[in-house]
């Protein structure tokens, strides 16, 4: 769990309830030691700056190019996108997701909302989605699978080992996406040689 700023505690609690050993990471060594990384909601411009100043960009890029699975919400999804619209000058785009993402795409806080989403992948039962100054995914590359959309725009996507959201599944206690992600990480760990570390799944 990238723990520089944002709703880290909610993510840790959700992964914990879903049965993972989740721990906060803030240094290059810690990033190199985990099996998978969750990137929280928060302020993407702040996260971008902290990642750069504290030398975390290189280890993150290294792990992402090595196929590290990620689970990202809101600001985390912005950080992983290939292109960021309405970002700050030089805002970091790690490019693991072939997405074009617009910050604050719905407007300001008074436009924040929650709604029920139908998500075929999760089966029956809608998913309560909370959007807080959320970004809008304006474009997806061919390798991106859209898992859910709201008003015709993707809000949950999967690309290879990356599971990304513009809303906050960590806020509602519905753990179906967390379990989906952890199942994928589990399969990966069984099929691959384990990492040479005692790292954990998040």
């Amino acid at each position: 769990m990238l723990a520089l700023q944002g709703d880290v505690r909610e993510h840790l609690a959700a992964f914990d309830r879903a049965g993972a050993e989740a721990l906060p990471v803030r240094t290059a060594d810690e990033i190199l030691g985990v099996h998978a990384l969750a990137l929280p909601g928060g302020e993407s411009s702040t996260l971008s700056r902290l990642i750069r100043v504290f030398g975390l960009e290189a280890p993150l890029r290294h792990r992402l190019s090595g196929g590290m699975p990620t689970f990202s919400t809101c600001a985390g999804t912005i950080l992983l996108s290939r292109a960021i619209l309405d970002g700050t000058v030089d805002q970091l785009a790690l490019g693991a997701l072939d997405l074009r993402t617009r910050r604050n795409g719905y407007g300001r806080q008074v436009d924040s909302f929650e709604c029920d989403l139908d998500i075929p992948l999760l089966g029956s039962g809608s998913f309560r989605a909370v959007f807080i100054r959320a970004p809008v995914i304006e474009g997806c590359g061919p390798g991106v699978e859209v898992l859910a959309a709201h008003e015709g725009r993707p809000v949950a996507v999967r690309q290879g080992r990356h599971l990304s959201f513009t809303f906050h599944p960590e806020m509602t206690g519905d753990l179906r996406f967390h379990r989906l992600f952890l199942d994928g990480v589990g399969e990966l760990l069984e099929s691959d040689a384990p990492l040479p570390s005692e790292g954990s799944a998040a």
Binding site: G42, V53, G107, V110, S112, E114, R133
Partner: protein, 320 residues
Amino acid sequence: MVGLLTTRTKAGDQMSTDGTHDQAPDGEHRGGLRVKRGLAEMLKGGVIMDVVTPEQAKVAEEAGAVAVMALERVPADIRREGGVARMSDVSLIKGIMAAVTIPVMAKARIGHLVEAQVLQSLGVDYVDESEVLTPADEENHIDKWAFTVPFVCGARDLGEALRRIGEGAAMVRTKGEAGTGNVVEAVRHMRAVLGGVRRLQALRHDELMAEAKRLGAPYELVVEVAETGKLPVVNFSAGGIATPADAALMMQLGADGNFVGSGIFKSDDPLGYAKAIVAATTYFDKPEVIAEVSAGLGKAMRGIDVATLPKEELLATRGW
């Protein structure tokens, strides 16, 4: 939560700005408790900086602030110049909103519901019902359930924090003693709030009503805090944080994040101080990082010993 508070929550929740219900078929819903409290969750581990101009707001954003607080004068100047301190000039707030992409908060006077309505209509992301401004009502705070925009309020102890949450605040902060550059009051208030939470956990269930009476806090919230062991909303520190070490101190005491007012733009090197305070808030438990970012910053704002201030100049005693 049960009883009165739940009912009130729902009423406030479903009312949009124009007084209509905006619950759509897919349950789409704006301005509810979850999105109000949720924005504060996203700000955790971050620094919210007081700014008086769009230029300062840009400096704050560049330094890594998670949000800015728009106000007409920083507390140190309010203290020096005196007079009635009110909500900022509307065009100034609009200028700040246009200058940055991070959330913009703005202050309204305690009890001044119309200033808050104006701020909501401008689209600010959070309203601070603040003791730093001159109170408009010495008895009542704003009914914050009636708004779509979320509110942050100051508190000196657990009872005060729960009273504000009972009125609908979606975030609380310590009052500290703003504009002094002296962290002592923020420390006192943070310890009082979080110590109060710890004390509640030690009580038996049949002692909670008496404790609610003692705290002057809504019973339902007292029970909730006793059961969960935490406040139902995010709790930042504010009021006197002037250095990176101050910011880290508040985080080690249990703050979820920091408001920094006069401490940045009254220092010798605002951008340097702002960046260093952001770093110290993230790496609050790593003294070597705090040492590194504190080196060569130049002078912090000149502080005031709170004990030398006459009672009538204290800001923290405004509101109850």
